[in-house]
């Protein structure tokens, strides 16, 4: 049929014209006009069906009027009917024909004050962690938290965070969280649980707390302490037990014992010139890592040749992040820590005596001198053997180290790690006292007396049947308790068990009542950071699943009137703030995130000789280790902590800073140990300690002590969520009460088979390329420009200048800003907080173990970790005589090479370099990647067709391709494509964590670091908004930065405007240590690096032959 002019009038687009006031309105196209002022645009067939015409129409087989279209009247009627049938036909198309789908815009019913959709809001809060807290500012989009940053305002923070803080936001949106109240495993309602808690409290108050026991995690929340005290007043016989599998409280215990005062040590590394660490991984797995990194890196600033960076000595069994950054490293099994401390203490005494005479060291030190000397001398042979060196060499090492310490009285620091026994800590305090460091590099603040029991005491009480009601707040004791306590059975001995848990995990079946715990991002509360400042914990969102905080549970049991955590926190604050009016102070407290001047003042301490002498008596004789008598070191996993982050996809996929392994834990051992046991990487072995066995794959770890085996906690959980399932193996079964950190007498033998290990960097050496430039301090002082020297190998390339002029050279004149980045390899410690910050900010997906094994991990920023051969071995050539074109070797070959036994380590963050002459831009067939006038290499995802030529051409390999729609498909089901199923609950929560300002990329699209273009745009737009009708459009100096730079506690990554001479990045690029990676390729990257400079002690025995 041909459409007539009149028909066009009715259906054509021209009728959808402007409706001016007063004109007759034309029918809007081929749809039936709805009723005047009807609330809903009809779309449903029901409404259509109500019309008589329709009923008549469907009655007949053919639409009425088919034969009548010669008649004008019925032609119109016919068209009306036809349009109705067209609609019917198109009912499948979203119910309204081939029309644009209706999208709704739903504003508020009642406008909230001061809210604008699209403008994020920031709230200060804090993350409680192992007895301390990390001060944070969290970004909230539309009432939900999306990004975690540090709180720059806090007096003890530079805005940096650690890995766990950055990744903790994913824990909030964990679909496997406990979302219900459960009684006996069955869902019950919240009221029943509240009634039960009240009942527990009532009964407890009646019989003065007899039979009531609490098992809690360590934290220093003043509110919890206050509630505990009030509970204790009402129920004096109630018991309070604290258990943390990673027990960082030893620092407090040792200090309290050593100084006969309840104190907590606070390390001020930035005041030290020399630091000696005895198995203390203060940059990686101790508490308060963000603080230590900050202070340590501050002292690693090297802007002029006169600067003298901090010097770090370490003696450790495992290779750790702190070991990466040490100038002198001694491989020593963890069990030799106390004997080494004794030997070093003797050395320090001698050195101090020689310098300043005996009296200078102070009476307590002098009193212990004789004993220390005796102890120190006795173990030297055994120590040397344990370290695999000669006794003479060992004596020289200790002597030179001690002399260096003594040369810096009050400016040195000795620290011992949490795994070391009490006697090692006491000796360390002794040394600090002798060196005059007390109150200088280590200060002591009053700590509350610990009035608590531990897990063994609770086990005893349970076995004796003394426990009526056991209240477990947090933690996962069935998984983490020492194996000899057999906690699953023991906990069941309590009459009733109530647990506040985050996931329905291993402890869930052994509970009568299970209450869902609130995440800290959903909680009101408070905490203290390590310097003693009171910080607030403010929720960013109401509890997603009705979770409870610890405070609420304690308040309900205590029968308090006010059980809301807000009220509790406020009341605590009112008691602590000491100012009137409280309301104004409270608002400021919440705004800033901390209470100014609330840090306790440091106290004077002096060594208690008797306590130290007692500790000395406990230092054991070193028994030799061998391949049949190995030492096991249980260490806190860098990603999963003690297992609490097992279901956190980001942390599972974060390459371990040391091993670069993802989704797995391994049995770490040294090359020598593996050789003697006849094992190689990925071999499945059985580790036997006493009668207990665990099985897992081995991994040869360069730099590890011989006859020491490292086992990471937190894996192999039996009851965990969909992410953590089948990841790694459980090592807790080997752990007993007596040996929670270091155990002796283990054997390892092959158990047959191999396990697939996904490692993101199984290539351990630099292979002669000038990617990381480093030198020691003397060389730097003689050749300040050493980093810029052209590399002998790469200079052979014939290209010295490009053929064609670079169009960007013209374009950049138009830019208001020119963005650049400088990464200081001296300050970067390798903590990997930046990787998680980038993942959080830019919606970077996880891909799972299998895809990582194929090299498809999506991290936009990666940290390359290279082991560097011993300097004297490297004298023969860049790689000991090998040339650039030798075979590319991976760990499969390198695990057997001698040079890995005692390597130095460098770490290098590698994001997109934003090259001015980017090789990726020239080769894109669709021009999806281009250069903007401010220097950024820009990615337009919608243009990308997935040729992958850009990634092919990138010399830095920083481009990542989305192979399987990683954002949409669940991990492990990629090959099913659209047939894979992602449960709705997972979808809902995953959507909430995405940053709305960044595209969520789809399959087939290339992505890479964008220098946080969304933050750049946000800053530029904010400045233009402020400028309005003026030309003041340049972003203020250093007013914003990229996610990685903001998260870095070491301030190693610096981003800014190169056009602005006052910006930090401009200043840093002018330094003599500045160099470009692979400069000879003439890519002209905007990201440059500052070379690593080590500060070795010339007097140490291993430094001959250093470059």
């Amino acid at each position: 049929m041909s459409a007539t002019a009149r028909d066009k009038e009715q259906i054509g687009p021209e009728t959808r014209g402007p409706k001016t006031a007063g004109a007759t309105t034309a029918a809007p196209g081929s749809c039936v006009r709805p009723q005047e002022s009807s609330p809903v645009y009809w779309r449903s067939l029901d409404e259509l069906a109500r019309t008589a015409q329709f009923r008549q129409w469907i009655g007949g087989e053919f639409p009425q009027g088919v034969g009548e279209w010669a008649d004008p009247v019925s032609r119109r009627q016919f068209l009306r009917l036809m349009s109705a049938s067209l609609l019917l036909a198109g009912a499948g198309f979203a119910g309204n024909g081939c029309r644009r789908p209706v999208e709704r815009a739903e504003p508020f019913g009642k406008m909230p004050e001061d809210y604008a959709h699209g403008v994020p809001r920031y709230y200060a809060t804090a993350m409680p962690a192992h007895g301390s807290a990390v001060p944070l500012v969290v970004k909230s989009n539309d009432g939900r938290p999306t990004k975690i940053e540090g709180n720059k305002l806090h007096p003890d923070s530079n805005g940096g965070t650690d890995r766990f803080a950055q990744a903790s936001i994913l824990d909030l949106y964990d679909p496997d969280r406990a979302a219900r109240f459960a009684r006996g495993g069955n869902t019950c309602n919240a009221e029943a649980a509240y009634d039960f808690l009240a009942e527990v409290g009532r009964k407890a108050r009646q019989n003065r707390g007899q039979g009531l026991c609490f098992l809690v995690e360590r934290n220093n929340s003043p509110s919890r302490a206050r509630l505990r005290k009030s509970l204790g007043d009402q129920c004096p016989q109630a018991r309070w037990h604290v258990y943390d599998p990673v027990d960082l409280d030893i620092h407090r215990r040792a200090a309290t014992l050593a100084f006969a005062k309840p104190v907590q040590p606070y390390w001020q590394l930035d005041k030290a010139n020399v630091v000696v660490s005895l198995d203390c991984d203060f940059l990686g797995s101790e508490g308060d890592v963000h603080n230590h990194i900050r202070r340590f890196s501050q002292r690693r600033r090297l802007e002029k040749t006169e600067d003298s960076p901090i010097r770090l000595y370490i003696a450790e069994g495992l290779m750790s992040v702190t070991g990466f950054n040490a100038d002198h490293r001694l491989r020593l099994p963890g069990s030799a820590g106390a004997p080494l401390a004794a030997a070093l203490a003797a050395g320090v005494l001698d050195a101090v005596w020689n310098r300043a005479g005996g009296a200078a060291a102070g009476p307590p030190v002098a009193a212990l001198a004789a004993e220390v000397r005796k102890l120190g001398g006795s173990n030297l042979e055994a120590l040397a053997k344990a370290a695999g060196v000669g006794a003479q060499w060992m004596a020289e090492w200790i002597g030179a180290c001690a002399k260096d310490l003594a040369a810096n009285p009050g400016r040195s620091l000795v620290v011992a790690g949490y795994r070391q026994p009490l006697e090692a800590h006491l000796l360390v305090h002794f040394m600090n006292a002798a060196l005059g460091n007390l109150g200088q590099t280590v200060s002591f603040r009053p700590a509350p007396e610990a009035d608590e029991g531990g897990l063994p005491e609770l086990a005893r009480a349970l076995d004796a049947g003394e426990v009526e009601t056991l209240v477990v707040l947090g933690g996962n004791p069935v998984y983490t308790a020492p194996a000899d306590l057999d906690w699953a059975k023991t906990q069941r001995r309590a009459r009733t068990v109530v647990r506040l848990g985050y996931i329905e995990d291993e402890t869930f079946p052994v509970c009568d009542w299970h209450l869902p715990a609130a995440h800290y991002l959903e909680s009101w509360g408070d905490a203290r950071t390590s310097d003693g400042t009171l910080v607030s914990i403010q929720p960013l969102i109401a509890p997603l699943f009705g979770g409870l905080t610890e405070l609420e549970v304690l308040a309900r049991i205590g029968g308090a009137q006010a059980t809301d955590p807000y009220g509790i926190a406020r009341e605590t604050f009112a008691g602590l703030c000491g100012s009137v009016p409280v309301e104004a102070a409270w608002r400021k407290f919440l705004h800033d995130g901390f209470l100014a001047n609330s840090a306790a003042q440091p106290v004077q301490v002096s060594l208690n000789a008797a306590a130290v002498a007692e500790g000395l008596a406990r230092v054991k004789q070193l028994s030799p280790l061998s391949k049949d008598r190995l030492e096991v070191i249980f260490h806190r996993d860098y990603s999963l902590d003690d297992g609490r982050h097992n279901n956190n996809g980001w942390l599972q996929e974060l390459p371990d800073p040391v091993t670069k392994i993802v989704w797995d834990n391994v049995v770490l051992m040294s090359r020598q140990t593996a050789l003697e046991l006849g094992l190689k990487n990925s071999d499945r072995v059985e580790v036997k300690l006493g009668e207990r066995i665990v099985r897992g794959p081995i991994w040869v770890q360069p730099g590890m002590a011989d006859y020491s085996v490292g086992l990471a906690l937190g894996y192999g959980r039996r009851q965990t969520g969909r992410v953590g399932r089948n990841a790694g193996f459980d090592v807790y079964p080997l752990r007993t009460t007596a040996n929670q950190n270091i155990a002796l007498g283990a054997t390892v033998r092959a158990a047959g088979g191999a396990c697939a290990i996904s490692c993101t960097q199984n290539h351990w050496s630099v292979e002669g390329r000038p990617i990381v430039r480093e030198a020691d301090l003397d060389h730097y002082r003689q050749h300040p420009d050493f980093a810029k020297e052209p590399d002998a190998e790469m200079e052979e390339l014939p290209v010295v200048a490009p053929l064609y002029p670079n169009p960007f050279d013209q374009l950049k004149r138009k830019g208001l800003h020119q963005w650049g980045m400088s990464i200081d390899l001296n300050r970067c410690v390798g903590c990997s907080a930046c990787m998680l910050a980038c993942q959080s900010e830019n919606n970077v997906p996880i891909v799972g173990k299998d895809q990582v094994a194929r090299g498809r991990e999506m991290h936009w920023l990666r940290i390359d970790r290279y082991y560097v051969g011993r300097p004297r071995a490297a004298k023969a050539g860049p790689q000991g005589g090998e040339s650039f074109f030798d075979t590319f070797r991976t760990e499969a070959e390198q695990q057997f090479e001698r040079w890995i036994e005692d390597p130095q380590v460098v770490t290098q963050p590698m994001p997109c370099q934003h090259c001015e002459a980017a090789p990726c831009e020239n080769v894109c067939p669709v021009n999806a990647t281009s250069h903007d006038q401010e220097g950024l290499n820009v990615m337009a995802y919608n243009r990308c067709v997935g040729t992958r030529y850009c990634s092919n051409n990138c010399p830095y390999k920083v481009r990542h391709f989305n192979f399987f729609d990683f954002n949409k498909r669940p991990v492990g089901q990629f090959y099913l494509g659209p047939f894979g199923h992602r449960p709705d609950d997972e979808w809902d929560l995953i959507k909430m964590i995405k940053n709305p300002d960044v595209t969520v990329r789809m399959r087939g699209v290339m992505e890479k670091c964008t220098f946080c273009i969304q933050r750049i745009e946000q800053a530029k737009i904010a400045q233009k908004d402020r400028a309005g009708a003026s030309g003041d459009v340049v972003v203020p100096t250093d007013s914003f930065t990229t996610a990685c730079a903001q998260a870095c506690p070491a301030e190693a990554i610096v981003f800014g405007n190169l056009n602005d001479p006052k910006s930090r990045v401009s200043r840093l690029k002018k330094l003599d240590r500045d160099y470009t990676v692979l400069k000879a390729l003439l890519t002209k990257p905007r990201t440059t690096y500052l070379a690593r400079v080590r500060n070795p002690n010339r007097a140490m025995p291993e430094t001959e032959g250093t470059r």
């Binding site: 687009p13 001016t20 609330p39 504003p107 508020f108 019913g109 604008a116 919608n942 459009v1033």
Partner: protein, 222 residues
């Protein structure tokens, strides 16, 4: 050799090629015309749940755009007002009018009115209202004479071409910031004079305000 193929197959290649070319051209031409924003979006005028007339409120009553779309100067998103904003007046004006029943219910219950979204750019485009509105681009340039619309319709295609046309020549569109919400405003009633003044003043404003008017991909595509 006997003929394997019948004679008519000789013409087949030519027919196929011609046919493909013609069909291809037709398809491309059809898509180019019908499936691009200029045709598919312009004129879209869905019926809203409440028959709100901009002509009455913004035109006749002279309400400033920003009275309701209050976040437009702060955010990338120009918000649709909450029902409580409507009630600011309508708790007195037309207090019991049945046409406002939905608004009253919404303001009281807090449940939103399900307005139909008209202007929308694809998800991979990040458009920011505040920087345009605050720097002299009037609402009328993209949204048309809303103050004369009984029912809002899509006035401009809002395609990338449309955005670039202005970004390539911002001087033709900037106006003093205080006139941004004055949709009927012109430099002068005389069209020639208006064009001259727009050119001269526009160029001056672009220079003075350092209007970047970015044309690189990162400006809109992140």
């Amino acid at each position: 050799m006997s003929a394997i193929f019948p004679k008519w197959t000789n013409r087949l290649p030519v027919m196929i090629i011609t046919g493909t070319l013609l069909t291809g051209t037709a398809v491309v031409a059809g898509m180019w015309y019908y499936l691009t924003p200029k045709y598919s979006r312009v004129g879209y005028q869905p019926v809203q749940p409440v028959a709100f007339s901009h002509a009455t409120h913004a035109g006749q009553l002279g309400l400033d755009c920003r009275y309701c779309h209050n976040a437009v100067e702060r955010s990338w998103y120009s918000n649709i007002p909450a029902s409580s904003t409507c009630m600011n007046c309508h708790n007195q004006v037309l207090k019991d009018d049945p046409r406002l029943e939905l608004v009253r219910q919404s303001a009281q219950s807090g449940r939103p009115i399900p307005w139909v979204q008209i202007h929308r750019v694809p998800d991979f485009v990040y458009f920011n209202h505040s920087v345009h509105v605050g720097r002299g681009i009037s609402c009328v340039e993209c949204h048309g004479p809303v103050n004369r619309m009984e029912e809002v319709y899509h006035f401009q295609p809002l395609s990338m071409t449309f955005c670039l046309d202005c970004h390539r020549n911002p001087a033709a569109k900037v106006r003093p910031p205080d006139k941004v919400t004055d949709l009927d405003w012109k430099w002068s009633d005389d069209p020639e004079e208006n064009a001259r003044l727009q050119k001269a003043n526009g160029e001056k404003m672009v220079r003075d305000w350092k209007v970047e008017s970015l044309q690189n991909c990162s400006a809109c595509h992140r």
